[in-house]
C-alpha cells in the first residue's frame, strides 16, 4: 500500500486534482473502492459542480454520504444549493438587523454577493471544512475535485483567509482600543439607531464582530492545519500523457508548494500501448513518450502510476476495484 493513502493521524484526506476530462472521478472512485475493500472506512465526495461520481459508481448520489458497499460511502455536494441556502439564511438575519438602515439596498447587495467572484470557492471550502470537522467518522476521505484552477484556488483560500482575518482583527483591535480610551474619559458610549440604544462594546470579548472574526480565524486555521499536514493530507494529480495536462500539473505543483500542501503522486491515465504499428497514431505515441520522459525528469520524488486506455470505461464496483488496486498498491 502506498503510504500516503493510509490514515496516520486520525484520518487521511486525499485530493484528486487535474485538468477537466483526464479521469479524476474514475481514479478517485477507484482508489476509494480499493481502500474500502482493504478495510478502511472510506468516504468519497465529489466537489465538482458538474457531478459524475454517481455515474461512475452507477448509483444516484445526494449530498449526504450514501453506503455503496462495505466500508464505502459516497456523496455529491450540490454547490448551487449550498450557496443559495447560505445566502438566504444570511439575508434574513441581516434584514432583521438592519431594519433601521435604508442606506444600503440589501437586496441588491445580495444579488451581487451570490454572483460575486469567488463565492463558489468559498462555498467549496466551507463544504470541505464541514466534512473535515467530522473527519474522525472516517479512515480515509477522498475528494473528487473540480478542474485544477478552481481546486487550487480552494486550497489556497485558507492561507489567504488567514491573512484577511489577521488584518481585520488588527483594525478591530485599534477600534476597540480607541473606544475604550474614549469611554475611560466620558464613560460608557451609546449608539442610537432608530429608537434603539446600543452600548458600544469596548472589550474584545463583548464585541460580536471581534468574536466572529476570531471564530472564523480559528475555523480557517483548522482547515489550513489539516491540508498542510503531510501526515493527514495527500494530493494526487491525474493527467493524460499529453502536453497541456503536463503544463497544468506543473503549475499545480508550484501552487501547492507555495501553499505548503503536500503533492504525492501522479496518475498517468489513458496511456496508449499498441502491439503493432499504426502510422496515424505515431505522432500521438511520440508525444506520449516525451511526456512520460518529462514527468520523470520534472517530478523527481513524485510517484507515477500508469493506467492504460481501457477498451471500455471502468464503471461499477468490480472494474473500479481492479483499477483502484493499481493506484493504491505500491
Amino acid at each position: 500500500m502506498r503510504e500516503f493513502f493510509l490514515p496516520k493521524k486520525g484520518y487521511r484526506v486525499v485530493f484528486f486534482i487535474g485538468k477537466g476530462g483526464v479521469g479524476k472521478t474514475t481514479s478517485s472512485a477507484a482508489a476509494a473502492t480499493a481502500l474500502a475493500e482493504r478495510g478502511y472506512r472510506t468516504l468519497v465526495v465529489s466537489l465538482d459542480p458538474a457531478h459524475n461520481l454517481g455515474d461512475v459508481l452507477m448509483v444516484k448520489l445526494k449530498d449526504k454520504p450514501k453506503k455503496i458497499a462495505e466500508n464505502l460511502y459516497a456523496a455529491e455536494l450540490d454547490m448551487e444549493k449550498l450557496i443559495k441556502t447560505y445566502l438566504k439564511h444570511l439575508e434574513e438575519s441581516m434584514k432583521h438587523t438592519y431594519r433601521y438602515l435604508t442606506v444600503i439596498n440589501l437586496e441588491k447587495y445580495f444579488e451581487v454577493l451570490s454572483y460575486s467572484p469567488g463565492i463558489e470557492e468559498y462555498a467549496t471550502l466551507e463544504a470541505v471544512r464541514e466534512i473535515l470537522v467530522k473527519g474522525d467518522e472516517w479512515d480515509v476521505i477522498i475528494f473528487d475535485t473540480p478542474p485544477t484552477g478552481l481546486t487550487l484556488r480552494v486550497l489556497a483560500l485558507p492561507r489567504i483567509s488567514l491573512i484577511w482575518a489577521d488584518k481585520l482583527i488588527e483594525i478591530r483591535k485599534a477600534i476597540l482600543e480607541r473606544r475604550a480610551a474614549i469611554a475611560n474619559i466620558h464613560g460608557e458610549q451609546e449608539f442610537v439607531v432608530g429608537d434603539e440604544r446600543v452600548k458600544l462594546p469596548t472589550k474584545e470579548e463583548e464585541d460580536a464582530v471581534m468574536r466572529e472574526l476570531k471564530k472564523y480565524r480559528e475555523e480557517v486555521a483548522f482547515v489550513e492545519g489539516v491540508i498542510t499536514n503531510p501526515r493527514k493530507t495527500s494530493v494526487v494529480a491525474v493527467m493524460n500523457p499529453e502536453m497541456l495536462p503536463l503544463y497544468e500539473t506543473e503549475r499545480a505543483r508550484e501552487s501547492l508548494r507555495k501553499f505548503h500542501v503536500p503533492f504525492n503522486m501522479i496518475v498517468m491515465n489513458k496511456v496508449l500501448e499498441l502491439k503493432g504499428e499504426i502510422p496515424e497514431l505515431r505522432a500521438k505515441l511520440e508525444t506520449q513518450e516525451m511526456v512520460l520522459r518529462e514527468v520523470g525528469r520534472k517530478f523527481p520524488g513524485v510517484e507515477m502510476v500508469k493506467i492504460p486506455v481501457f477498451a471500455e470505461e471502468p464503471r461499477g464496483l468490480e472494474r473500479l476495484r481492479e483499477l483502484g488496486g493499481i493506484i493504491v498498491e505500491g
Binding site: L101, V103, L113, S116, R178, F191, V209, L213, Y216
Partner: protein, 96 residues
Amino acid sequence: MKDKEKDPLENVRAFLKGFFGAFKQNSTEYLEFELRELENVFALTLMGAFVGIPSPPTTLVIRVLPHMTRELYVMQRRAVDMDDVLGELAGMFEIT
C-alpha cells in the same frame, strides 16, 4: 441660611465641571475622529465589492455584517460628509 452659604461653592463646582468638561471634550476630539475613520475603513474594507476593491472572503463578510450596524452607519455618514473633509479637519485644528 446654610443653603445660601453653600451657593458660591456650588457655582465654583459647576464652573470647574464645565471648565474641565471642555478640556475632556477637547482631549478626545482627535481620538473620536480617528475612531470614526477606523470604523469607516473597517466597513469599507468589508463592503469593498461595492467600490471595486478586493474584498475579504465572502464567508467572513457575510458573517460579520449582521453585527456592523454602527460601522455601516458611520460609513454612510462619512460618505455624506466626504465633500467637506477639509472643513472638518480645519474645524478640529481650529483653523478659521
